[in-house]
């Protein structure tokens, strides 16, 4: 889900219009615009955009796996 607002221990996240407040205590340096993986109301990891883009380039056949 995409982070739209960061508070102290929590962040407001959104996906397809669904908005939730989740705990972000297990992550460092969460900021607006980050994507996070949520499980049981807690963000367990940040999505690494660089790695995601790399995989997407493989999918688009721009680079070899």
């Amino acid at each position: 889900m995409k982070v739209i607002e960061v508070k102290r221990e929590t962040a407001r996240v959104e996906c397809e219009g669904i908005i939730r407040d989740v705990n972000i205590q297990f992550l460092k340096g969460v900021k607006e615009g980050d994507y996070v993986i949520i499980h049981a109301g807690i963000a367990i990891e940040k999505l690494d955009k660089k790695e995601a883009e790399k995989t997407l380039r493989i999918i688009k056949n721009e680079i070899y796996r």
């Binding site: 297990f26 499980h39 955009k49 995601a52 796996r65």
Partner: protein, 364 residues
């Protein structure tokens, strides 16, 4: 950009299947790849991956559905606790339909017990704060992905001095179950598709030990079709090349080799490792988590003397063998006839991540 649909691109899927077929031709005999996690089982069913693979690559489902492996005795304890005076039971939704030896939480709720479904343990804690005159017992069930959330909730309860919140811990660890399956001579596993979000917490280290000891390659994949097929391709390539001791992280956009150390630290602070019973598998050494003495005040088992008689009323289904990957749901005479998602007999049909539920919904 949602980082979801992009991983479902049909043209890349066709390319991957071509590559998988090419590798499969080099295999001397069929290979059995186990997807350990229930979320993978559902994704494999939903995207028709099992049917799209060459015939000599077989996918078998593993024990990674927390609700499915929760034994009768745990459900019986939860039901016992729900009968105590001034008690609120909070639980994840999947748990309520699971049959214990003679009832289920859903049935108890319909008979007036205060059993509430929550999305997060933090929500359960909030209910406890709102109801100071009730004892609130949260049913802590789940693997390494869920346990840190429960541990964090217990720490919060401790910091905030909340005295009416308890956890009945049924938490379990995935790697010891994988080891047990490798020791079972009746189970054949040539490669593991490791759980993506459990691995976000654990990292790849626990699987390296398994791959090295049992000569079985592992891949940590995501949950989109591209991810799963890439994982299958990587495993097939490893098997063809004889690289059995390798562990590969395919799901690099989420899983780091070291995992989430912060989450593991909180989990370790609150829980200690003990032996645990898995439904259908039996007791697995050092595979369960118990609340440490330091946080004993939040341990439902030590606070409430739980008396449950050992009852062994079996429904006759083959969930045990399905959880070990020995047999498939379609091998069970009750599957799809008297055991359906609307009226499930075994836990593999109850849980939304159960193998039987996946086969029923998407076909085998």
């Amino acid at each position: 950009m949602r980082y979801i649909d992009e991983f479902r691109d049909p043209s890349s899927i066709k390319r991957q299947l071509k590559e998988i077929n090419k590798q499969a031709e080099k295999l001397p005999s069929p290979v059995y790849l186990m997807e350990v996690c229930g979320t993978h089982t559902m994704a494999i069913g939903r995207f028709g991956i099992r049917q799209a693979l060459p015939k000599n690559i077989k996918l078998i489902s593993g024990p990674g559905c927390p609700v499915c492996v929760t034994p009768d005795s745990y459900i019986d304890k939860a039901i016992y606790l729900s009968h105590l005076k001034d008690v609120i039971i909070t639980t994840f939704g999947d748990m309520v339909k699971v049959p214990g030896s003679s009832s289920s939480l859903e049935k108890e709720k319909s008979e007036g017990r205060d059993i509430r479904i929550v999305y997060s343990p933090l929500e359960a804690l909030a209910i406890a704060e709102e109801s100071p005159h009730k004892n609130n017992i949260f049913l802590g069930v789940g693997f390494e992905t869920t346990t840190p959330a429960v541990a964090l909730t217990i720490k919060k309860a401790d910091e905030e001095g909340i005295k009416n919140f308890y956890v009945l811990s049924g938490h379990k660890l995935i790697p010891p179950a994988m080891k047990t399956l490798m020791e079972d001579k009746e189970v054949r596993i040539d490669g593991f598709i490791c759980p993506g979000h459990v691995s976000a917490i654990t990292g790849s280290k626990p699987y390296i030990a398994i791959s090295e000891k049992y000569n079985v390659p592992s891949v940590i994949t995501g949950f989109e079709p591209y991810d799963i097929l890439e994982g299958i391709l990587i495993l097939t390539e490893k098997i063809v090349r004889g690289e059995y001791k390798d562990v590969v992280i395919q799901y690099k956009r989420v899983v780091k080799p070291e995992g989430n150390q912060k989450a593991r630290k909180v989990m370790k602070d609150v829980f200690e490792v003990v032996d645990a019973e898995w439904r259908g598998i039996g007791v697995i050494k050092k595979s369960g988590l118990k609340i440490r003495k330091r946080y004993e005040g939040f341990d439902a088992e030590s606070h409430f003397p739980v008396k449950v008689k050992e009852k062994r009323k079996r429904c006759g289904c083959i969930c045990g063998d399905i959880l070990k990957g020995k047999r498939q749901p379609t091998d069970c005479k009750m599957f799809g006839t008297i055991c359906t998602p609307e009226s499930p007999l075994g836990p593999c049909m109850v849980s939304s991540e159960g193998t039987c539920a996946a086969f029923y919904k998407y076909g085998g």
